[in-house]
């Protein structure tokens, strides 16, 4: 089953016992999952269980070289959709993606379609 990785993540993030819940305190950093997608179409869902005031999240896909000490979408190895204003990010460049963001109680679906290389 896909869990939050114990080591492929910024050490300052808190991962709960169930290894399905991540909490960060100071400044953006990233946690990746235990499994990656290499080709074909893959989909995962995240339920936002708690968003204290002023907290935000960027969810998406990252290759293993994505910098864990920055947000998802920080460099050229990751792509993210932000909870604030629903902006999408890649290489730290924000572009309009959805009108309005998402927050507590939402279930976010993430699909990636990777060509099967020969």
């Amino acid at each position: 089953s896909v869990l939050v990785a114990m080591h492929d993540r910024a050490p300052q993030l808190k991962v709960c016992e169930d290894r399905l819940t991540v909490t960060g305190e100071r400044g953006y950093c990233m946690a990746r999952a235990t499994h990656g997608a290499h080709y074909g179409s893959w989909f995962y869902e995240i339920k936002i269980t708690d968003m204290p005031d002023g907290s935000h999240v960027r969810l998406g896909w990252s290759q293993e070289l994505g910098n864990l000490q920055g947000p998802c979408g920080y460099d050229k190895f990751s792509y993210a959709w932000r909870s604030r204003k629903g902006t999408r990010f890649h290489e730290s460049i924000g572009k309009h993606f959805t009108d309005g963001g998402y927050g507590q109680g939402d279930v976010i679906g993430m699909l990636i379609v990777l060509p099967k290389d020969d």
């Binding site: 100071r26 400044g27 910098n67 000490q69 920055g70």
Partner: protein, 152 residues
């Protein structure tokens, strides 16, 4: 360290900011300082290395340079570019009369400048910046006989 650090707070050394022979302006002793005394804490904003990397690029573009960023450990950098204390004005020397040391006081890491040897009144306070070696060199103006020629 805690006792000695508290002494520093109460026994802040009298220093002055004045024209320096090494580089524009520097910090000078206004009182004689014995060897191995705490001279001043290097104070600034505590930031993460990834934030320091971004700022270093921005400061270089602004022509400020990155010489007010001081690495405490792998988690924290002190940035004294926009806010800090007099310590940011201490010049580098390859033959310094002080040295920088990271001490932990009540769980907080601090950078403290200590004297290596007795320092006379009006003598310039200097320490070795120990900058990482880089391709783009910054010339060293310390004028010491064994000057290494560059800060980095």
């Amino acid at each position: 360290d805690l006792v000695k650090f508290n002494q520093l707070q109460f026994r802040k050394k009298q220093l002055k900011f004045a024209r320096s022979r090494i580089h524009d302006w520097g910090l000078f002793a206004l009182e004689p300082i014995a060897a191995d005394e705490m001279v001043i804490e290097y104070v600034g904003q505590m930031i993460r290395p990834v934030v320091a990397d971004l700022r270093e690029k921005k400061y270089n573009e602004m022509g400020i340079g990155s010489s007010y960023l001081f690495r405490v450990d792998f988690e924290t950098i002190i940035d004294a570019t926009k806010c800090g204390n007099l310590a940011r004005f201490i010049n580098h020397s390859c033959n310094p009369n002080c040295y920088a040391k990271v001490i932990t006081v009540e769980g907080q890491k601090k950078i403290v400048i200590y004297s290596k040897q007795p320092i006379d009144i009006d003598e310039e306070i200097t320490y070795d910046y120990k900058f990482p070696i880089e391709d783009e060199k910054i010339a060293c103006l310390c004028g010491a006989p064994q000057c290494r020629g560059y800060l980095n």
